[in-house]
């Protein structure tokens, strides 16, 4: 960036959020409001099988009886659920794009600008991408190649039509429709998301990834992801998200369900970069997500890696239910909050099967006036003989007006279990900064470098392309927090 542009940006006082543009595109949008008719219409627009409509309506009726949870260490402006539009999609030409060539060039441009070219030729590494734009999936790449391997990777709305039995068998079995307030809302109104099925013994030939983009104003994004790894299979899945800069808060309430059967392994990585609001805390996405994995089979493994730099409020606990014997759950997290951002995130490891193991590494970085909370539960049931957990939560404070909090819950009913929890909180020391500056780094670069070092344990779990992106994001998100 030229210094001129930098100055202009300083004048406007905008934060460097590169994904903050709006795509001007014709859209079909439902008027704001939520009732049973909206859900019926939604189900009809998506041409869903009958069981889905039933499922949605049941979830909606249950949702009406629930109240918003308020136990988190968060300040949330009240959300008006009737002011949100529950469906917004780029206008379709007839039946929708059959191939990439038919996708609206405006959309392709949008993804290109975000650094996600949907053109299969241009991909550096073999990563299949499902691009979700507001309420619908606009393109999925490498479908053919994946099909050869037997892997199903498609928008969940498509899966509902092509593989209804498979979806019915698994949907809502990990996160039931009535699980919590936001999960119930999602079950009632979810619009799209990715569906992945890896058949027995298959090692998915490429990384799968979904890119979520909120574009329309006054909408909420409610996506649903369901990943099933059948016996002996392996998959690595990545997720990224961005949204335009707006003064209003927008709600993003997703549900992610993972099922790992015998000897299967799922690696789920997230780089979350929703619009965080401006430096006075205006606008930004409310990221209230329910993510849960069930290690149903023996020797199965689920690994969550998340880098949370965006969103005005992040409130999520990617969890593992370790049912199968010898199953393994992992959680690696970097959560960075700056300005007025708030994060209350962590994980739950529920040990039920014997010899189950879990590892939790959480790094929280808080700058500006942000509040960053780690909240986690390690629960060892009586049946979980020889269960093992190791938890490490480190917090780094940048500035004297931010907060870092740690709330681990440990519940153990099995004497052979071994559970360890460690937490530390500190700030970047003057000595460290001085050392870097003395070697010619600017204060900001020095902070960025130290923070990256602090997060290294987590970044090394990310696939390479994501690790690079995550490091760059940390630098941007910390901008303006020093000096």
């Amino acid at each position: 960036m030229t210094s001129n542009a930098q100055e202009i940006e300083d004048l406007i006082g905008q934060q460097d959020y590169e994904a903050g543009f709006v795509t001007d595109i014709e859209v079909d949008t439902f008027p704001p409001g939520l009732d049973e008719d909206v859900i019926r219409r939604l189900s009809k627009v998506k041409n869903e099988p009958d069981f889905m409509l039933e499922y949605r309506l049941e979830a909606y009726r249950h949702w009406l009886t629930m109240t918003e949870p308020n136990w988190a260490q968060l300040n949330i402006e009240p959300i008006d659920y009737q002011a949100i539009s529950y469906y917004s999609a780029p206008k379709k030409k007839e039946d929708g794009p059959k191939s990439l060539d038919e996708v609206d060039p405006e959309l392709l441009e949008t993804y290109k600008k975000l650094g996600i070219p949907l053109d299969e030729q241009e991909r550096l590494a073999g990563i299949a991408v499902d691009a979700v734009f507001d309420s619908v999936s606009v393109a999925t790449t490498f479908k053919g190649k994946l099909k050869e391997a037997g892997v199903i990777f498609c928008p969940i709305s498509e899966a509902l039509q092509d593989y209804p039995e498979l979806v019915k068998q698994y949907l809502g079995t990990v996160v039931p429709a009535g699980d919590n307030f936001f999960a119930a809302l999602n079950a009632a109104v979810f619009t799209d998301g990715s569906f992945v099925y890896i058949p027995k013994g298959v090692r998915c030939p490429m990384e799968l990834s979904t890119y979520f983009r909120i574009n329309a104003a006054n909408t909420g994004q409610f996506e649903r992801t369901l990943i099933i790894a059948d016996e002996g299979s392996h998959v690595s899945y990545l997720e990224g998200c961005t949204a335009p800069m707006r003064d209003e808060n927008q709600l993003h309430a997703a549900v992610v369900e993972l099922v790992a059967l015998d000897n299967a392994e799922i690696k789920y990585s997230t780089v979350q970069n929703w619009y965080p609001g401006d430096k006075d805390g205006k606008g930004g996405i409310y990221n209230f997500v329910t993510k849960r994995a069930e290690c149903r089979g023996k020797n199965s493994k689920v690994s969550w890696t998340q880098v949370e730099t965006g969103s005005a409020i992040t409130w999520k606990y990617p969890s593992c239910v370790l049912l199968g014997e010898n199953s393994v759950g992992e959680f690696y997290s970097v959560a960075l909050t700056n300005n007025y951002q708030q994060a209350d995130t962590g994980t739950k490891m529920i040990h039920i099967g014997a010899n189950t193991r879990s590892t939790i590494i959480s790094k929280g970085i808080s700058a500006g006036k942000a509040q960053n909370t780690y909240r986690g539960l390690v629960k060892v049931a009586k049946s979980a003989k020889n269960a093992r957990n190791y938890t490490q939560c480190d917090s780094l404070l940048v500035g004297d007006r931010c907060g870092a909090h740690t709330f681990p819950y440990v519940e153990v009913k099995q004497p052979t279990a071994k559970v360890e929890h460690e937490a530390t909180t500190s700030k970047i020391s003057e000595d460290q900064l001085f050392f870097c500056q003395q070697r010619g780094l600017s204060a900001e670069d020095a902070v960025s470098m130290i923070v990256n070092g602090f997060c290294k344990e987590v970044f090394k779990e990310l696939p390479m392309e994501f690790a690079v992106e995550a490091q760059a994001l940390l630098g941007i998100s910390l901008e303006g927090s020093v000096g």
């Binding site: 136990w71 260490q73 060892v380 009586k382 917090s395 404070l397 940048v398 500035g399 004297d400 007006r401 931010c402 907060g403 870092a404 909090h405 740690t406 709330f407 681990p408 819950y409 440990v410 519940e411 153990v412 009913k413 099995q414 004497p415 052979t416 279990a417 071994k418 559970v419 360890e420 929890h421 460690e422 937490a423 530390t424 909180t425 500190s426 700030k427």
Partner: protein, 438 residues
């Protein structure tokens, strides 16, 4: 409809309240009435409250509690067996100060030890600035209950610069079944004063409810060393709280031993001003169906304060242990140094531990850490002992005992140390543990 304990208590309150100490004093009556209305609105805390998540007191509701009937003849030798040597001893029987048993002769000038009920009669304003000032009834309803119902308690004041050479021991004994023993203590150490207070809770074999709230005010540079030995009867319910306000450079050390009772809970809250120091040590043992809950909160309000905390739990049979340790560092509390550690040993398949350390930090220049472990005895250590000729059971007993004894060893007073050690030995199988080593 079955009537619950709290409903019965609430119903009886109007007849009872006129006899409560301080009820004829305007400010104290207002204090009690407010606490009563809070308690009568919702009764004892429910597990739906975050701070009571793991401790369900609904069993209390199935009982009836009332003031002890006329003093029962008790065995003086039993009461005296609880006494430590070289102490000023204050005894509360069924929640009422007993001058017969107390030994207070020779207290130096500048030290006052008296019954709270008496002071509320003779000079109530002496307590006005203290009652309800270190802890608010809003904290939870055991506090409100105590504020409304307390029948007596001990007031201790040590004037500026006085250094008490002997310890003060407060012995709470409950002797009758269904007794409600409800006391409020106020300890005031003026600037630079130093004292040691030891609390002992014991009961004869019966089911009763103890609630005891201690409000502690430490002025600048005051030093208080405190211990709580909880050896309540097997069927007893116990709620005890220490709420400590520490001014600049005040020091507070607390050793907590939770051995007895059926369901017990202890709250320890410390509020630290500039450069104050607090050290909390605790050991809880659970056997049979015991439920031992230890709840601590350390608030660093101002810069440069130091806190250290170590709690250990040993749970056997069907016992359940709960530890909640919360450290809050306020925005101004720069250069805070805080460490917390909780280690738990599960000895049986049916034992359970729920532990929840919490760090809430609003300042940046801090050093804070906490650690938690849960596990069973290390098999390598057991094997090592066996390879040296011990049988397995002795090896396990020895290691378990050593784990717990680490907390007992921190006691500096010899007779207190020996007393706690003997309690510890009574509660664990001794085969393999040779007390001559200790």
């Amino acid at each position: 409809m079955t009537e619950t304990a709290s409903l019965a208590l609430i119903e009886d309150y109007p007849q009872l309240k006129a006899d409560l100490p301080g009820y004829d004093v305007d400010w104290c009556r207002a204090f009690r009435e407010q606490a009563f209305s809070q308690f009568s609105a919702s009764g004892f805390p429910s597990p739906r409250e975050e701070e009571w998540r793991y401790t369900n007191v609904s069993a209390i509701e199935k009982k009836r509690f009332h003031w002890a009937a006329a003093e029962k003849t008790i065995d003086p030798a039993w009461v005296q067996s609880l006494f430590l040597d070289d102490c000023w001893t204050v005894v509360l029987i069924d929640g009422v100060f007993s001058s017969d048993y107390s030994r207070l002769s020779g207290l130096p000038d500048g030290v006052m030890v008296a019954s709270v009920a008496e002071i509320l009669q003779s000079n109530p304003d002496a307590l006005k600035g203290y009652l309800g000032q270190a802890v608010s009834d809003k904290e939870h309803n055991f506090i409100a209950f105590n504020s409304a119902w307390f029948r007596d308690g001990i007031f201790i004041r040590v004037e500026a610069g006085v250094n008490l050479e002997q310890s003060i021991q407060i012995v709470h004994v409950t002797t009758q079944t269904e007794t409600l023993s409800c006391t409020r203590q106020i300890f005031v150490l003026q600037e630079g004063a130093a004292a040691e207070i030891i609390e002992t809770y014991a009961g004869q074999d019966c089911a009763y409810l103890t609630t005891s709230v201690n409000e502690v005010f430490l002025a600048d540079k005051a030093q208080l060393s405190a211990s709580k030995v909880q050896q309540e009867a097997e069927q007893a319910w116990h709620f005890g709280g220490w709420y400590v306000k520490q001014s600049a450079q005040a020091q507070f050390t607390h050793h907590h031993f939770a051995f007895g009772g059926l369901l017990t809970r202890t709250d320890i809250h410390c509020d630290l001003e500039t450069a104050a120091e607090c050290e909390l040590n605790g050991l809880f043992l659970g056997m049979k169906r015991q439920h031992q809950d230890s709840h601590t909160r350390i608030v660093h309000q101002k810069p440069d304060a130091i806190s250290r905390e170590q709690y250990k739990g040993v749970l056997d049979q069907r016992a359940r242990g709960v530890f909640q340790g919360r450290v809050i560092v306020a925005q101004d509390a720069q250069r805070t140094d805080s460490q917390m550690n909780n280690q738990n040993l599960l000895l049986s398949e049916y034992a359970e531990i729920d532990t929840k350390p919490q760090l809430e930090i609003y300042a940046d220049d801090v050093k804070c850490a906490h650690g938690v472990t849960v596990g069973q005895l290390d098999e390598n250590s057991v094997f090592y002992c066996q390879s040296r000729g011990l049988d397995e059971e002795s090896a396990r007993n020895m290691l378990t005992f050593a784990f717990a004894n680490q907390m007992v060893k921190k006691l500096e007073r010899k007779d207190l140390h020996d007393h706690v050690l003997s309690l510890l030995l009574q509660r664990f199988p001794q085969q393999g543990v040779d007390s001559s080593w200790l």
